[in-house]
Symmetry: C2
């Protein structure tokens, strides 16, 4: 007993790690905000972007909140009160992280542009801390919130007479609600933000670059502000919510499996300690992002990532050897880390070098052959990642059973703080470059800002690799937890059982459904933007000559409305459909459903990410002056590829990761309820049995 | 005993049905060949196409034969002598059907063009019987060959002392080789033919229509003959081999499950009788394809399909009720038939009407938005088909267990004779229109030939629906048979087992791999054609003015080489990879591998087919004069969509159906061998265990 209580001290450790992370966020925020915010022109532009971003986020959260209330009521009365409470807190922490992160990000971009006037390193000294605020808020609030709720539940339950182990068990089954809150926000934020950013981007490019031949970020283009807002709400806030839920999902699946499969509290505590080690590694990594030379910002960012990674590996090694006394868990973590890196490096391989040249070459015969080649590249790029995920699965399983799989996922995600920081740095630098262009800040400044923006894809690719790989493993771990809680782990979920196969056939289309809905939303919203921009160029006299201002607020408004409207169906379906399958066809079919969606979702996510990346880089390769360079027919063909790839890689692809986990969590949380309704239904309609 | 022998008389019934089918083929061939073959100009063109087609088929078969020899040896020494013999006969019957069908098809097209001079009905009276030769050869030779081999094996084994039931059991396990022979030829023929036809098509269009602005089938275009050859070797011979293997696969999986799951000879005989009923229904259907008016050929073809279907439903009803004495089998068959039709009608919905208009509308903002919209359409179009396949699975299973699933598949495929006839009619009419254009046969003739060619997509869509739906169900039935033979049917193939999940993660990328390889092959071969055509227009003086002849043989040669070279890797991988997974990771992983590939393959096949169809029709919709009509920017954007869709729907998509079945058959045939090697390997490398 005393031993268990001693073990529980790991929860306060996690809470304190979260608090330290948030204190560091506070420090970084002050560092950013006290920096010079530039002249009036820069302020005007920056505040337009900021206003648009905040307006979108507010409306997005408002829309989501209706949905949260409904789910809260169902959870509260249908599942368990504590689950409902955990759900809401999980969701609120995600929102709060989004608000804090985006607030600082929007403040960072004009300041970064201003710093570009003095030196490259100064600018980096604003842009990266700006991104790190998002990164550390995500992990800090995540671990803090989760730790507090978990600890609170356990204390409450032991006060009401449960034994400590019973209390931990019950608290663990409730804490799944926290993960569900995170996943719900993430899906809406990723889909809504993703639609927003790509609709604005595609719309702005189609008229601006293609039809009118004006440069990117040209202030005459009415959709440019919307495009910059999109970077913030999609690539920054949306991405943050996405990784917040991955992070929470990995920890929670570890807790559930430790407690329910292994009946072991110490293993559960291990998960929280790994997360704490991850936070400290991320914080220390921030200090390594510094440079005195005008070197490739890629190298500088890599320093941060490498430093974090080394510290994390050493930390988990020590933790495994001396605290947990079992090095097998260390190797499980490493197998995940390694698989994630393979996914990332394969992504890098297929979105650079020879493959990209091949796509550019095929663009010589027009957009069709470029699209065909890019599709082929994306599809083949799924091969090695899936094999490496498969190997990580089997290795981790052989080492530590299902818990090993959960540890693998956790290994990939413990450094979320660093990867989000690097990811969020992107839109800040992008916006800084945009502001520099729109405020006519001069050649030198513009060039520095663009160099900041031109971070290669390496770090981002590794981050994406972790996101996809961990999604696969987390969903798998949650899926095993589902099997455990609905009592299928002994009988197994047998593919030769027609009920399971039926579920798989239905589940496998869910990713296709989500991709379709999000692509269509981007295509149609972009179409509205194109029409609006064309209208403004026609109806506002002197716009193209730069003598009149565009009505950029109108474009922001159109995109906001479209994104919010179109995020609802995908978000709601992800929750309703698995429940429906379980209710009508039973728990075996629901198991098949989850496996089916996982099996199609993971390769589709990789395909979309890498096709998109490859088209993007093929276009860049041509823009560097190859095969005729900018303005040539080959270039135009490559722009078509890039435009198709935009929603592939930044809207539909990332949404898939969340879908897989959200559906597993829904099955896990509602499992009991679903089975009861199913059994009641079979009594009324016996042919369903 | 006497009863069993009585039951076995169903095999001679099947053999006789096959013979009758072939006699009817002979009658139709005479009818076609004695018709007038037109003037010298037509003959020259027609013989160029014919020569190209036969040259390709010969070289294709030669390439495949090396591969057949290797497999024959492995089967002969590694599995069983009789399996090897069945394998070769199954492959040879497929090749023979291809030769007969394509021989008559190439003879039919110039005769159809000639008949267009007199009347529409006369032309139809050549084109459809021409296609029916292919259709009835496929089912006739299939059932004849299968029946003879099966009967021969049983007789041989009973002569050597086995009891009749033992003999049937052993013969059934050997006859799987026949199915493997069919699948092997099919994959190569579909992939090779598919690459050929689309590379030539895309190549011819890109330079001809897009760059030079000359019409389709213009004799000045050096790639036009290759394009017409492609119709023959891809859409005619490739498609025939594809459906031959589906047909055989469905019958064989029925036999295996009847004998091994049910231990019942009568159920096995039922499968052969259903196939016989199908053949008679198809033959009678041919007589209904007649018209006296210049009506839409669609309606005329539909008459044939509807007649066949009604006769088939009545026939199987009588068979189930009075011969098998169990109407449950009838409803299993109907569930499959119904699911196939749903897949077909959904395809039709998403490739016509509102959806197509939406794509055309999105083409107004350029090719990128058209591609995005078409991708979205294709992806969402997987939803209802998969649900209906899932429902057919569960219904058939509840009625008759796994045997019900096999019957469902058989229900979809019994009318293969009719569907292949209708499918093969397409390239004949297409070629006739081409010959009419190239031989300058005048406005009226050309118009009639084009009307023949312009059959709507209804019948083709239904046929494709049957092909995809039956592939899913046949693969599923074969998969169950695999589980049975390797001794997994009691323990089950449990998704919660990490070995199974590992197999699923690897299996799920196989369809992506095949799509990638085939798309890339088409893209690159088309690129070579484009370069060659551009070269000829530049280097041959007077070509564009129509004063000089193009070197069309060169284009035929380039495409042939590319297609043959590129079909090897996909074909060989489909056989080696499942074996490798089984050998290295064991039978559970191989089970997961098959399920994984099935679960991604089916929706991907539907997505590719429907995206391709939708883009095609969006282009046609614009060409009818909507949204600016031919030559407008919107039209150009829609041509890009169509070009991307061509290999989607005619190369990669159909190849997937075969892949799924081929891999299941490989697992089934080599199951025992694979397990032995795996166990030997574990002894050497214990960590694999």
């Amino acid at each position: 007993m005393k031993q268990i209580i001693e073990q529980l001290t790991s929860i306060p450790v996690a809470i304190i790690s979260g608090i330290i992370s948030m204190l560091f966020v506070f420090y970084l925020s002050i560092k950013v905000t006290k920096s010079d915010y530039g002249d009036e022109k820069m302020q005007t532009i920056s505040s337009l972007i900021r206003k648009g971003s905040i307006a979108f986020l507010t409306r997005e959260y408002k829309t989501i909140s209706y949905f949260l209330v409904v789910l809260f009521v169902i959870l509260f009365f249908g599942v368990a009160k504590k689950t409902a409470i955990a759900f809401v807190i999980g969701a609120l922490c995600s929102m709060l992280a989004g608000v804090i992160g985006m607030n600082i990000s929007t403040l960072s971009s004009s300041r970064t542009a201003k710093k570009c006037e003095s030196s490259f390193n100064d600018a980096l000294g604003i842009a990266f801390p700006g991104g790190a605020v998002m990164g550390l808020s995500v992990v800090g609030l995540g671990l803090l919130g989760l730790g507090l709720v978990y600890f609170g539940f356990i204390l409450f339950l032991t006060n009401y007479g449960s034994s400590v182990f019973e209390a931990v068990k019950e608290a663990t089954s409730m804490i799944v609600g926290f993960s569900m809150g995170a996943s719900s926000i993430a899906l809406f934020a990723r889909v809504g933000g993703g639609i927003y950013t790509k609709a604005a981007d595609v719309g702005a490019d189609l008229v601006g670059k293609v039809e009118k031949g004006i440069p990117e970020d040209d202030p005459r283009n009415p959709a440019v502000i919307a495009d910059n807002v999109g970077d913030m709400v999609g690539d920054c806030a949306g991405m943050g919510a996405d990784l917040y839920e991955s992070y929470i999902g990995a920890i929670v699946s570890g807790l559930v499996i430790a407690v329910f499969n292994l009946n072991d509290v110490k293993s559960a505590m291990l998960c929280l300690l790994i997360a704490s080690v991850g936070i400290f590694s991320s914080i220390i990594g921030v200090f390594f992002v510094k440079t005195n030379k005008e070197e490739d910002p890629q190298i500088t960012l890599n320093k941060g990532l490498t430093a974090s990674m080394i510290i994390f590996v050493i930390g988990t090694f020590l933790l495994s050897k001396f605290w947990y006394n079992n090095l097998k868990v260390f190797w499980s973590i490493i197998s995940g880390l390694f698989a994630g890196m393979v996914v990332g490096f394969v992504a890098q391989y297929y979105t650079s070098g020879r493959t990209v040249k091949q796509i550019a070459e095929q663009a010589k015969t027009g957009p069709a052959t470029a699209i065909i080649e890019g599709t082929a590249v994306g599809m083949i790029s799924t091969l090695i990642p899936l094999i490496s995920i498969a190997l990580a699965t089997i290795i981790a399983y052989k080492l530590q059973g299902v818990f090993g799989i959960a540890l693998s996922a956790l290994g990939m995600l413990a450094l979320t703080g660093t990867t989000v920081a690097i990811d969020a740095y992107g839109p800040i630098a992008d916006n800084a470059a945009g502001i520099a262009e729109m405020a006519h800040m001069g050649q030198e400044v513009r060039k520095r800002a663009e160099r900041l923006d031109a971070v290669g894809n390496t770090t981002a690719a590794v981050g994406k690799g972790f996101a996809i790989g961990s999604a696969a493993l987390t969903a798998l771990a949650l899926f095993s937890a589902y099997g455990e809680t609905v009592g299928l782990s002994n009988i197994g979920i047998n593919i030769l059982d027609a009920r399971v196969i039926t579920g798989m056939f239905i589940g496998c289309v869910m990713p296709f459904f989500l991709i379709s809905k999000t692509l269509q939303a981007v295509g149609r919203a972009a179409y509205s933007i194109v029409e609006e921009v064309r209208r403004q160029f026609k109806e506002i006299p002197g716009l193209l000559e730069g003598k009149a201002l565009p009505d950029s607020a109108r474009c922001v408004d159109i995109t906001t409305q479209a994104a919010l409207k179109k995020m609802i169906i995908p978000g709601v379906s992800a929750i309703i459909l698995p429940a429906l399958v379980g209710i009508v066809l039973g728990k075996e079919s629901l198991g098949g459903f989850l496996a089916g969606s996982l099996i199609t979702g993971v390769p589709l996510a990789i395909y979309l990410a890498n096709s998109g990346g490859a088209w993007d880089n093929a276009k860049k390769y041509i823009e560097e002056g190859n095969l005729g360079g900018k303005g040539s027919d080959t270039h135009k063909a490559s722009v078509v590829g890039d435009t198709v790839g935009d929603p592939f890689k930044d809207t539909s692809g990332p949404s898939l990761n969340i879908l897989l986990k959200l559906m597993s969590v829904v099955a896990l949380v509602f499992g009991g309820l679903i089975i009861s309704i199913n059994q009641w239904l079979i009594k009324i309609l016996p042919f369903l049995g």
